[in-house]
Symmetry: C2
Subunit: 406 residues, 2 copies
């Protein structure tokens, strides 16, 4: 179990585990009900409503509202509608048995993490009522590490360029002590997880299905390696749950909410990675996009994010960290401006140096006329440049010194 489990009753934890199997991810009505009256009382009430042991006319609402305050007519209507969609699962006894979650967790080698636990990712609060009701977690307690984390997401149909960039970014982020979050898919996701593991860092795989079934199956070894190498694998649906399309989209919202920033490495014009980026933007989390060749269809989505102003252009781990990190402490190092000969000269000296020949010596008059400066300015500049060894006096004439520039 998790660190400060004391703060959460085992009844509440069990009820949240059951809820995670009863409703689809992102069900705001379930979130509101659990928040209003607590997971266990809400579950108990829902079970009795579905079983028909109480109806809406025999004081069912009053029972509920005694605990949670007035839901109001709109809230009541929403819950009535939700009861219809929850009913088919509630009707299956096993799904609602608060005792069964333990065996499910044990079988999958997972634990159930709930709000109030130390390892509950703080960023999930940004999701409000659509936050996961619990997380099924295998591996390390990842919560605190997520305070300094980057979601690296992108195309399954990635190019070798994208894979390389994702791997290198993940490696660079680990060296900046950040945790790399991704979805465990083929392509960019896998490259990001691999880069983080390769660098000996932490990575977090957020699955759309249960934590006992790596999807895609081809990445099962990567998922296992994540667990054994200090990372974590997590999902908001219980072990055994299949990854459906809508669960993939809901998984993307979790990735966006958990990470400090989201970076898209490659993406098609329409892709899951873009949905993650838009989730992050809606949560006011920083979003980055890695550019690529305009001739590559794999970069069409990242360029779209840049064009639409959703994402900032990022090209290396330092720039990503500047996006994700703490203001001031994680600024990307200033790009080394290569100071060139002439940069430190005043404009007159630069103009004079510009027109000097290394072969043909010329008079100060000619030089002033060529450079378009006053004769006195030309003379002054020539004198200073001579001291620097940049120009040479030949009789009364001047030429550029024939040495290579530093």
């Amino acid at each position: 179990m998790s660190g400060s489990a004391a703060a959460v009753t085992s009844e509440e934890r069990a009820a949240r585990a059951v809820w995670s199997g009863l409703v689809e991810p992102g069900d705001a009505v379930a979130g509101a009900l659990v928040e209003a009256v607590g997971a266990a009382p809400a579950l108990d009430w829902v079970r009795r409503r579905v079983a028909g042991s109480c109806t809406s006319t025999d004081g069912a609402w009053e029972q509920l509202e005694q605990r949670g305050g007035d839901l109001g007519p709109h809230g009541r209507r929403q819950v009535e509608r939700a009861l219809d969609r929850w009913a088919p699962r509630v009707a299956r006894a096993a799904d609602t048995d608060p005792a069964s979650w333990r065996s499910e967790a044990e079988r999958a080698g997972a634990r159930v993490v709930v709000p109030g636990d130390d390892e509950w990712p703080a960023g999930l609060q940004g999701l409000g009522l659509t936050a996961p009701l619990c997380l099924w977690v295998r591996g390390a307690a990842i919560g605190p590490a997520l305070d300094r984390s980057v979601a690296l997401v992108g195309a399954r149909a990635s190019t070798s360029y994208g894979d390389r960039v994702a791997f290198d970014l993940a490696d660079g982020l680990v060296h900046r002590e950040a945790c790399v979050v991704s979805g465990g898919a083929y392509g960019i996701d896998a490259a990001a997880h691999r880069g983080a593991l390769h660098a000996g860092g932490r990575t977090c795989v957020v699955l759309a299905g249960g934590v006992d079934r790596a999807y895609p199956a081809g990445n099962a070894r990567l998922v296992e390696r994540t667990v054994t190498d200090g990372g974590a694998v997590l999902a908001e649906v219980p072990p055994g749950a299949v990854p459906t399309k809508s669960r993939f989209l809901q998984r993307n919202r979790m990735i966006a909410a958990m990470a400090s920033a989201t970076v898209v490495v490659e993406a098609a014009w329409r892709s899951g990675a873009l949905s993650t980026a838009h989730h992050a933007a809606r949560l006011l989390r920083p979003v980055g996009a890695v550019p690529g060749p305009v001739t590559s269809v794999a970069s069409v989505g990242t360029h779209r994010l840049l064009r639409e102003g959703v994402a900032v252009c990022v090209t290396d781990a330092a720039e990503v960290m500047e996006l994700a990190g703490l203001v001031g402490t994680d600024l990307a190092p200033a790009h080394a401006e290569d100071v060139r000969a002439g940069d430190l000269l005043d404009p007159h000296a630069r103009a004079v140096l510009d027109v000097l020949s290394a072969r043909t010596p010329r008079s100060a008059d000619e030089i002033a006329a060529s450079a378009g400066v006053a004769l006195s300015q030309a003379r002054g500049a020539l004198g200073l440049l001579e001291l620097d060894g940049v120009v040479v006096r030949v009789g009364g004439l001047w030429r550029r010194a024939a040495v290579r520039r530093p």
Copy 2:
């Protein structure tokens, strides 16, 4: 000569031609003086001041200010300082002979274009007092064409990727009836000019030196082809003038001002193309940058422009034209959103379809529980999907139809 030459006296045109050789490009004091009293009177006055035939104490200022209004003490001081830097060239008689410009122009096959001429590029007004005093032009009357034009600029040390993109962009811009402006340098500039010529369109080469000396010499044939194929080659310095470093920088301001928008294709971290982009941004002209692989040093400068918010990300000619063109008429075509199976379904039907197996038929109860929808919603969705031929009823059970999706 140019179209509406009637509006400009030949004396004024001649004087501007002389001025263009007397001062360095972008000399705001010359610009102010010419604007205040006219090019010919200003030239006459400057010649007499330098020759010493009048001094600042014998009414020289009064002579000047009779025509142009009070320059004020600050203006007077600026002009006194400018006289010092103009003097070395004014002292050479040939440089100030208003008659000599004609022979210079003839020798170079060029004409002198001044403000007031039809072919004077309207965009140059944005430069205010630092606008060119005249243009030396070879080839077509390019002025009106510049109202719909794009500057394509970039690295001399370009990659084959950058060359290809510049060529293709220029080609696409010509097909959108835009004129391509660039600097005639190796690399991106040359590729842009070539792409425009290849497409049978207009292109404009803006040189830092005289129009009679293509720089670099290796592009001399490209410059000649521009003139013969309906384009134009122009400069603000007279024929024979050498391209110095500061003239390259001033040339960049002209490119930025003349074109409707500036697009950088490839650029080093520090480069002339970036200076053009910054000039354009300062003139409130749209700026685009073409992304490239983050692993390419040739794209470091364009990514810098994107990161710093100076430029918009552009990936094809349609997007460039949206930047440069008239609002509404040149919008890039909406990207074809590929509608996928399921897109047009309501959420319940999508959820039901999502959990249906093509092999194992299941009951509506099971399907509702899997999909997380109410039993009535599942039944309704299954009925509609059956009508669409997407699901098949097998006894009382349902499975997905085994046909490939459209």
